[in-house]
C-alpha cells in the first residue's frame, strides 16, 4: 500500500474507532445515572418477562 493510504488508514481508524471507543467508555463511566429497567435490579431475563407482561397488560 502507498504511504498516503497507510496514513489515511491509521488516521481514519483513530478518528472513527478511537472516538467510538471513547464514547463507549463514557457510557461505562456514567451509565449508573440513567434509569433503564434492566440496569437497576434483578436478572435480564426476568426483567424482560416483567416488562413484557407490563406491555401486554397495558395493551389489553
Amino acid at each position: 500500500m502507498t504511504l498516503g493510504a497507510w496514513v489515511m488508514l491509521v488516521a481514519g481508524s483513530i478518528a472513527i474507532y478511537g472516538g467510538l471507543i471513547y464514547c463507549i467508555m463514557l457510557t461505562r463511566k456514567h451509565g449508573q445515572s440513567h434509569e433503564y429497567s434492566d440496569e437497576t435490579e434483578g436478572g435480564n431475563e426476568e426483567r424482560d418477562n416483567i416488562q413484557g407482561q407490563k406491555d401486554t397488560e397495558a395493551r389489553n
Binding site: M1, L9, L26, Y36, D55
Partner: protein, 606 residues
C-alpha cells in the same frame, strides 16, 4: 386508565437498535465507491467534518425531539409546534415508501443466499461476466420490460416469495413491541460486523486486495477544494444515518426520562461511520482481487495497452524472431503476432484467445506475461509494476461503473465465482447472509416509526398497526417484483431521497433551530447527557445544515430540469417521482388533520 409507554430494557438495546437502523446496505455499496470517486482517503476529511457538523447535530435533533415529547415523529413535531405535525407524518410516509422497495432488495439477497449454495449465478462453462447477465436477464428479467417502466411484462415469483418471507420476519420482530426488538438487535446488529470481519480476513489474503485498498485509501488532496466532493460527503452522511425517516425519533421516544441523548447520538453516528469505513476495506479488497483475476484471465488489457502491444509487435515484425532477447519471447511471439493483428482489426480492443490458439496450448497467462513484459520494457519498469498498474486501472474502472445494487449483485458474484473451489460457496453464503443482517435492522426500524405513529395518534394496537402496514407494504412492493421493478425502484429511490428525506431534514433543522426555543431544547438534551453540546451545535443546526440541505435540493432540481433522470420516459418520472412525492406529502397532511382518539390523547397528555 392511560396507557403506559413501552421502554427500552437496557441502554445497550437502544444504542444497538439505533446503530442497526442507521447501518444499512448503503454503508456497503454506496460509501466505498463515493469515497473512491471523491479523493479516496482524502474524502475522509470532508466526511468527518460532515459527521461533526451535520450528522451528529441532526441525530441529536431526532433523538431529542422523540425523547423530549415522548412520541413518534408526528406527536413529537406536534408537541414542538402544532403547525409541524404534518412534517412528522411526511417523514413516516417516506419511511413506508422506502420500506416497500428496501424489502424487495432484501428479497433479492435472500434469493442470492439460496443461489450461493450452488453458485447459480455462474454455471460451468459460462463467461466470467455471466453474473451480470444472470442478474439482469434471468433473475430480475428487466430486459423483458425493454427499458419502459410501464411495460411490467410479468412478475418474478422467487422475488415475491422472498418478499413475503421478509415481511413475515419483520412482522414477527416488531409486532410484540420494543421489548422484542431489544432482544433481536442483540443478535442482528453485531452479526454483520462479525461476518464483515470474516470476509475481510478472506479478502485481504487474495492477490490484488492491496491494490484495491490503495484505490480506496490513497488520498488525492486536490479534490478537497472541489465543492462537489463536500456535497457528496454531506449527502452521504445524511442518507447513511437514516435521518428524516422519523425512526430514530420513535426509538428515542421509548427511552426513560433520565437517559443520555448526546453520547448515544455520537455512538450511533460513529458506529455507522465505522461500518462504512470497514465495509470499504472489504469491498475494495474484493474489487482488487477481481481486477487481478480478470487481468490473469488475459482479456482485460485496455486499448492503450493493446495499442502499445501492437506497436511493439509491428516494430519487431521485420526482425527475425530469433533475435528476440528471451526464449519465452520467441516462443510467444510467433503465436501472438496473429492475435495482435486480430486486436488491430478490432480497433484496438483487447485481444482474445481464439479456439485455434487454445488448442495450440496458448494459455491466458501467456498473453498476460507477454503483454506485461512488452509494456515493462517500453516503460522501463518492472513486470510487477506493470501488473500493479493494470490491476489498479481495472479496479478503478469497476469502481466507476458499478455502485449500488450492481456492486452487491454483479461485482461480488463475479469475484466470488473466480475464487478457488469451496471458497465460492463459503464466501457467497457469508456475503449474502451479511447483506440480510445489514438490512433487517433498517427494514424493521422503517416500519417501527409508522407503527409507533399510528399507535400514538389513533390508539391502534401495535399488533393491528404492524399487520396493516406490513400487508400494505407487501402489496405495494409487488410493483418492484415485476420485470420493470428495477426501473421503478430506481425512480422512486431517486425522488424519495432527493426531495422526500432531504426536505424533511431541512424542516427538522428549521423547527429546532428557528421555530422552537433552541436553548430549552439544548438544555433538555444536555440534562442527562455525558457529552454536553454548546454553541457549535446551534450554528450547525441553525445555519450550516439548512444551507447544505437547501443547496442539495436546488442542485437536484437543476439536474432534473436539465435532463430527465436516467433517460426514463417523462411520464414515468412524473408518476413514480413527482406524484409519489406529492402523495407522500399529501398523506402526511391528511393524517395530521385527522382527529386523534381520546385514549391516545390521554396517553399523550400523560
Amino acid at each position: 386508565m392511560a396507557e403506559q409507554r413501552e421502554r427500552w430494557t437496557t441502554r445497550r438495546s437502544f444504542i444497538l437498535a439505533a446503530v442497526g437502523s442507521a447501518v444499512g446496505l448503503g454503508n456497503l455499496w454506496r460509501f466505498p465507491t463515493i469515497a473512491a470517486q471523491n479523493g479516496g482517503g482524502a474524502f475522509l476529511i470532508p466526511y468527518f467534518i460532515a459527521l461533526v457538523t451535520a450528522g451528529i447535530p441532526l441525530l441529536i435533533v431526532e433523538f431529542g425531539l422523540g425523547h423530549m415529547h415522548q412520541g413518534a415523529a408526528p406527536t413529537a413535531f406536534k408537541k414542538a409546534n402544532k403547525r409541524f405535525e404534518w412534517v412528522g407524518w411526511w417523514s413516516l410516509m417516506c419511511s413506508v415508501v422506502v420500506a416497500t422497495y428496501y424489502c424487495v432488495i432484501m428479497a433479492w439477497s435472500l434469493n442470492y443466499l439460496v443461489h450461493s449454495f450452488n453458485v447459480a449465478w455462474r454455471p460451468p462453462g459460462t463467461p466470467q461476466d455471466y453474473p451480470v447477465t444472470f442478474f439482469d436477464k434471468e433473475f430480475l428479467r428487466v430486459a423483458e420490460a425493454g427499458g419502459n417502466p410501464f411495460n411490467l411484462a410479468g412478475v418474478a415469483l422467487p422475488i415475491v416469495l422472498g418478499l413475503a418471507i421478509t415481511w413475515i420476519a419483520i412482522y414477527l420482530i416488531i409486532s410484540k413491541g420494543i421489548g422484542q426488538v431489544s432482544k433481536v438487535v442483540l443478535i442482528t446488529v453485531p452479526m454483520p460486523f462479525i461476518l464483515l470481519a470474516l470476509l475481510f480476513i478472506r479478502a485481504i489474503m487474495m492477490r490484488g486486495a492491496v491494490t484495491g485498498m490503495d484505490i480506496y485509501l490513497t488520498p488525492d488532496f486536490s479534490r478537497i477544494f472541489d465543492a462537489k466532493v463536500w456535497l457528496a460527503a454531506y449527502g452521504q452522511m445524511f442518507f447513511s444515518l437514516s435521518i428524516g425517516f422519523g425512526t430514530l425519533t420513535a426509538y428515542a421516544s421509548f427511552l426513560p426520562k433520565k437517559a443520555d441523548i448526546n453520547n448515544s447520538a455520537f455512538i450511533t453516528a460513529l458506529g455507522d461511520c465505522g461500518t462504512s469505513f470497514f465495509a470499504g476495506m472489504v469491498v475494495f479488497s474484493v474489487i482488487g482481487f477481481l481486477a487481478f483475476a480478470q487481468a490473469d484471465a488475459g482479456f482485460q488489457y485496455d486499448s492503450i495497452v493493446a495499442r502499445q502491444y501492437i506497436e511493439r509487435l509491428n516494430g519487431l515484425k521485420d526482425k527475425d524472431p530469433a533475435g528476440l532477447e528471451e526464449p519465452a519471447d520467441r516462443e510467444d511471439y510467433a503465436v501472438l503476432e496473429g492475435m495482435a493483428r486480430a486486436a488491430e482489426v478490432k480497433d484496438g480492443k483487447p485481444a482474445e484467445l481464439v479456439p485455434e490458439q487454445i488448442k495450440a496450448g496458448v494459455k491466458p497467462e501467456h498473453v498476460r506475461n507477454f503483454l506485461a513484459r512488452i509494456v515493462a520494457r517500453e516503460k522501463g519498469i518492472s513486470v510487477e509494476q506493470v501488473e500493479e498498474k493494470e490491476i489498479y486501472r481495472k479496479a478503478t474502472q469497476i469502481t466507476a461503473e458499478q455502485s449500488g445494487p450492481g456492486l452487491a449483485f454483479k461485482v461480488f458474484p463475479i469475484a466470488i465465482s473466480m475464487m478457488p473451489g469451496i471458497w465460492q460457496v463459503v464466501v457467497g453464503v457469508l456475503f449474502f447472509t451479511m447483506l440480510l443482517f445489514l438490512a433487517i435492522d433498517s427494514a424493521f426500524s422503517l416500519v417501527e416509526g409508522i407503527v409507533a405513529g399510528l399507535h400514538d395518534k389513533f390508539g391502534v394496537s401495535r399488533l393491528k398497526a404492524t399487520a396493516i402496514v406490513c400487508a400494505l407494504c407487501f402489496f405495494v412492493g409487488m410493483l418492484f417484483c415485476t420485470y420493470a421493478g428495477l426501473l421503478w425502484l430506481d425512480i422512486v429511490d431517486q425522488w424519495i431521497n432527493s426531495y422526500g428525506l432531504v426536505l424533511v431534514g431541512l424542516f427538522e433543522a428549521i423547527l429546532v433551530g428557528w421555530v422552537i426555543k433552541t436553548a430549552a431544547f439544548r438544555e433538555h438534551v444536555n440534562r442527562h447527557s455525558e457529552i454536553k453540546i454548546g454553541l457549535l451545535w446551534n450554528i450547525c443546526v441553525k445555519v450550516l445544515t439548512p444551507i447544505i440541505l437547501g443547496a442539495t435540493v436546488v442542485l437536484s432540481i437543476g439536474q432534473d430540469i436539465k435532463a430527465p433522470y436516467g433517460g426514463y420516459p417523462i411520464w414515468s418520472l412524473i408518476i413514480g417521482g413527482w406524484m409519489m412525492v406529492l402523495a407522500v406529502v399529501g398523506s402526511g397532511v391528511l393524517l395530521s388533520v385527522l382527529k386523534e382518539r381520546k385514549k391516545a390523547q390521554e396517553a399523550q397528555a400523560k
